[in-house]
Assembly symmetry: D2
Homo-oligomer: 261 residues x 4
């Protein structure tokens, strides 16, 4: 069965900015989904901000193996209830790939627990992404480095928690560097951040970027059955303890009482 990917797009500048509309007539989400669907093992669809519940109902998320997220100008319009639903899906085992300006998206910041801030410059400068580790699954098939002739600059310090693995580091023509590909785990879910993708450049038409995105979807996919309740904190009563013990000492909780949270 193919991996079910959903590409979420803010779909704002595609509708309001001619440069972006001309570059991405299908929307950035549409172009990204197309690149994923070129892989027989992936079945990608899209969802956008403008749809009811932003296209991310509980039913939809339950059928999503990996969610890709691109947002920039309308982060604040994403409803908190949908954000929590996405975050819980990640904890349950859904993969999440945050793209470019999604460093400031609500689900990514929520999962990181850090400001996710950086420095930036929109000057169409050259970016060169370097692998830190040859043969990392997310970098499979790539040379040691590849270039994007025009990109927005994102610079360190990047306000993220230390990654599980730093997969790419970018060089920018203007003199900055950035950890452009980084992984984390949150609960049963794999999270990958991938830096390139400013909306006024043809980044999502680039073959190496396509390779990274397809690899990342495969990497982020957790084939295990989704956890039913990733936040439960069950009491294990004395008579269910793995080893036989006797209750002793003063107690706060009455028998059968739920835990405090």
């Amino acid at each position: 069965m193919p991996i079910r990917a959903v590409v979420w797009g803010e779909n704002h500048h595609e509708q309001t900015n001619k440069v972006v509309a001309d570059l991405y007539p299908e929307g950035m989400h549409g172009t990204i989904a197309g690149a994923l669907n070129a892989d027989d093992g992936i079945e990608a669809t899209t969802a956008t901000l403008q749809e009811p519940e932003h296209g991310l109902t509980a039913e939809r998320l339950a059928q999503t193996d990996v969610l890709l997220w691109w947002g920039h100008a309308r982060h604040k319009q994403v409803e908190d209830a949908v954000v929590e639903r996405v975050v819980e899906a990640v904890w349950s085992g859904m993969g999440l790939i945050a793209l470019h300006s999604a460093h400031f998206s609500k689900p990514f910041k929520r999962l990181m627990g850090t400001p996710c801030n950086l420095t930036w410059r929109e000057a169409g400068e050259r970016e060169r992404l370097w692998l830190t580790s040859r043969n990392h699954p997310i970098a499979a098939g790539l040379p040691d480095s590849f270039e994007l002739e025009n990109e927005e600059m994102y610079g360190e310090p990047f306000g993220i928690p230390e990654p599980m693995e730093t997969v790419f580091v970018s060089w920018f023509q203007g003199g900055e560097v950035f950890r452009s590909g980084a992984t984390w785990k949150r609960g049963a879910g794999n999270v990958f951040y991938f830096r390139p993708g400013h909306e006024t450049y043809p980044t999502y038409h680039d073959g190496n970027v396509h390779t990274v995105l397809r690899n990342a979807v495969r990497w982020a996919h957790n084939p295990a059955k989704r956890l039913a309740d990733p936040t439960k904190a069950p009491n294990v009563p004395v008579d269910k303890a793995p080893e036989k013990i006797e209750e002793r000492g003063p107690k706060l909780h009455a028998h059968g009482e739920e835990g405090l949270r």
Copy 2:
């Protein structure tokens, strides 16, 4: 200059439960502060839920090197504005030590980005904490293991992000284990979680626990001047780029425009 520690206490069961009140007539926060003040290098004071702004005004946090947090029954009463203030202080460089049931406190969950859930049992069973690494600064002066004769059980899986270091692992009489001491960094701030400390047992009167708490305060202390704005994402205009570059390509942002977030 001594390290300025603030011990934050929910101060609820001390006021409402005779067992807890008898064990901790000064409040758990008072007992913990006393243990810290036995160290000449630490100057500890307290703050509680019931104070205005929970005792954690911006001025107070600006004067706090390390915040210790104990909460259990009243997590939800902690105001979100104070939580954000605490979280930003951590990002700026304040240390945070989350104690026992503070695994479910708002600031800790916010910084972790995970559910922080676990299994639990209140049976007064024996807990034995093992060091994973001899001579870790937080374990300085401790034997390879130490016991607490009566404690609440917390069991794995513990829903945290993989720690920077797992410092203690607990054995429980009833058959469970738990990563009882773990570290993370969030921005410029050091975070430590320490498991023991159920309110109906004399845990905070234990000498080894005192050693851990004092070590942890020293470990969590970042002596650097606090960051003024840990969330800023400054634009670096073309003429301020470290290397000389020329602007090119289409642009989304007008000159001097603020970034989107």
Copy 3:
């Protein structure tokens, strides 16, 4: 194409100790290979200390996706040249699974860079392994904990580098705990350590242990083409620099000279 696993066995106590020989008439390596071969996606063979080059020629390793290693009494008899070959294969992308007393095997210690020491007791006591993270690929299909009624105890502190992920933590009847499942990356190779497996107990006949071993082989498998030379440190001459630069300043190396190492 199935994953090609090689189970390396020291094959010493199977030949010299009646208890072990009776438990594992095919050798522990044979039993483990059998358990792996029950998975259609894995094709497991064996190699032993007694074979020429310990059964691990360069050709054999080149055809090995994942190597499992069990050794105990004869670590020192493993030739250093074979150890280096194994280590380089891991750096190139071969997976390595170190089993039980292989914590003191030459390849594992070499890859960790730490003493890999621990405390131990052979008393046939009960071990209970707990997952730290539900739905981790190595724990797929397992309950939150499982038991081995008779095992050797290994206790913390365990002298390893902080793992990429701690997957299992063991509880022992005698009062100790141990990080029983842990992952690392070394170059392009995935490394997993799995604690249980003392030779006088039927551990490798246990169904949950089989599940872990099969999951671990799948997890450790890096499908990318093996790196040709994982240790090369190539010079990038000025005229091959990604950006045009001019050579300047005093030089140590003559043109075309090899690097020092």
Copy 4:
């Protein structure tokens, strides 16, 4: 009491190459020790390859809190017995700071368990080091970036284990990037790698480099009493088990027998 630092220098090019000798008349080790001694809290001395036991006797190491290591052309001449002594001292709690071409030094490679390879170019190009995290103790007092006008280039992929923290990332004029400051723990010892320091450039006369070195010595210092035997793997007999258990099942080891290793 000040932190006792020993700066180990290969002291080869200082004796054989006029450029290096003119830049570092006291040897690179001498210059580095001088920079450290400008800090009242550090007391730095030197040791060199040419001294008996390379100046690193057991007595000397026992009195060393932090060892800094610079080597390049003569890695192979460092005796393996001294390397093991250094490595065991690190495991016991001594800090180690590997400088520049010490990425290929025996002690560093031994502690990492990886090839530690990279790409390189000696062209006197500009390097700019970026902090990944403001207010990291090793970066205290530094701006977000600082430059070295002439340096050797080291490029990714850098064959190291994923660091505990990546503290600096370098930008190079010729188009490469490199994780220039990275931390690990090995046993009780803190390890830091710092990239700059090619012998034909005045890097060790740079003020920002001095700041990093002094910060790093303070960071690497573990004030705990050195572990007596960091490799011991003690048996815990049944009658010394923390919990009362009875021996059962077949045994491999006779009573009182030493463990196998």
